[in-house]
């Protein structure tokens, strides 16, 4: 399951995850090390979530990197200065060598997170993952009620996830619950919080769907209304106070409603590298939607070479590529012009200011989408449109 917060971005207070305590990049434009390696181990997944951020073109099992290739990548990442490896997918547990992969990332001195649907898993395997060095388990939920969660994931998996939550209590590792929220489940927020309070994980993320991949294909049914968002902010602000010292509450805002864009992935080529199942290295999940850009592969070049010297990672690093109003904006080192993928998807220009920004020339495109939602929200029309479910690769 693929719903990472690091690339999306911000907490209620608007701070990006990694600006939390690590020093920001110096204005002198010295190239620093990436902090996180997102390893998409496979695109196979038992779930079919309607907002999956995987690309619509999934990578087949036959082209996935081998255990040895991943192990080399983890060591190269560690030497480059990467601190954390986030195992995701698809579903990372779908890899039969997952325990070996955790072990080799940990042996490379990385902090290892599993970003998972919790399936397929049993108690014994969880114990072996922890023994292999797993630091943190992020478990996804598609709703608070089984019927909602099952509709969104296109499977009957909600109860199995609750069981995983019980097993996790037997281990001293970090646990994050991740609820991806949208128009069809945001009304279950209080019930989601009951699950959180019962299980007391170290962190809970309420991550609004972002509109890439399948999320974009289902946007008409997923985008929350303004009233839903206002209610959500109120509930989560109270929850943040109530749970302080027990569970950290992270809220990823639906950025169509934001005043300024998210500092996507902490800036293109500044903090994060993502490796797709077949070894292609991307600055973020969605980057492959951007046309005329050649992304390199770890099978052909070292991670350091790609980080420091590839055309793709250099394309939107620094400020030279920026157009107005970003180029002269005071916030250009805060949000880095926003998300390049969203700029391309909503304007056709990959160097445009992210159109969710209130200062963007193309903000009208986003306002039009929100206006259409408000005009049609009371009609049943959108309920009769079917979901586009995530498929599985060959």
């Amino acid at each position: 399951m693929t719903c990472l917060t690091i690339w999306r971005g911000c907490m209620i207070s608007g701070r990006s995850i990694f600006s939390f305590l690590l020093a920001p990049l110096a204005m002198t434009e010295t190239l620093e090390s990436p902090l996180a390696l997102v390893a998409e181990l496979t695109h196979r997944c038992p779930l079919h979530c309607v907002y999956c951020s995987n690309p619509l073109e999934l990578t087949s099992r036959a082209t996935e990197l081998s255990t040895e290739e991943w192990s080399r990548v983890f060591h190269e990442a560690s030497e480059l200065g990467v601190l954390q490896a986030d195992f995701t997918g698809g579903e990372p547990l779908a890899r039969t060598d997952i325990i070996e992969l955790v072990h080799s990332a940990r042996a490379a001195k990385l902090y290892v997170s599993l970003i998972s649907s919790g399936l397929p898993l049993d108690e014994g395997k969880l114990g072996r993952l922890v023994l292999a060095g797993l630091d943190h388990f992020q478990l996804s939920f598609q709703g608070a009620r089984a019927e909602t969660a099952n509709e969104i994931s296109g499977t009957n998996t909600h109860l199995a996830k609750l069981r995983v939550l019980d097993w996790l209590k037997q281990h001293r590792i970090g646990v994050t619950l991740n609820f991806v929220i949208h128009r069809k489940n945001i009304h279950e927020l209080e019930e989601m919080l009951l699950i959180v309070e019962e299980h007391a994980p170290g962190c809970v993320e309420f991550a609004s769907v972002q509109y890439y991949g399948y999320g974009l294909a289902n946007r008409e049914k997923l985008l929350p209304t303004r009233a839903q968002l206002d209610r959500c902010v109120k509930i989560l602000t109270e929850a943040e106070q109530r749970l302080r010292g027990k569970t950290r509450v992270v809220f990823v805002v639906p950025d169509y409603y934001a005043r300024y864009p998210k500092p996507c992935v902490g800036g293109w080529g500044r903090k994060l590298m993502l490796i797709s199942p077949d070894g292609v290295v991307l600055p973020c999940h969605a980057a492959s939607v951007i046309p005329r850009m050649r992304f390199e592969n770890v099978k052909k070049r070292s991670l350091r070479g790609i980080w420091e010297d590839s055309d793709s990672f250099r394309a939107f690093r620094g400020q030279q590529w920026m157009e107005e109003p970003c180029k002269s904006c005071d916030r250009r080192e805060v949000d880095f012009g926003g998300c390049r993928c969203q700029a391309f998807l909503l304007t056709g220009d990959r160097a445009a200011t992210d159109p969710v920004c209130s200062l963007a020339p193309a903000r009208g495109n986003v306002d039009r989408i929100l206006r259409e939602l408000e005009e049609t929200k009371n009609r049943v029309a959108t309920d009769s449109i079917g979901w586009v479910y995530r498929k599985n690769p060959a």
């Binding site: 305590l21 020093a23 001195k109 902090y111 997170s113 170290g202």
Partner: protein, 91 residues
Amino acid sequence: MKPELSAVPRLAPGVRLNEKSQKERILLMPERALKLLGPSLEIVVRCDGKHTVEQIAEALQKLYSKAEPQRITDDLLDYLARLHDQRAIDF
């Protein structure tokens, strides 16, 4: 939440220090990392489930003997409260 002087802080689940051999000491936690320098490192290495807050304060007062002892204790309590809110430590 500030700890009592008798509390015994320890790192929260999923939180650990990187290895001593690495050039910078960093506290690793879910999706975040905290660079530790000087006093912050001296505090975090003592959040091991064995030292009370009072003992940590005494150790810091020895290390930073030019500073006023009460000031050190106050700063320590503030820092531990922040780490606790961020779910980096339990006490």
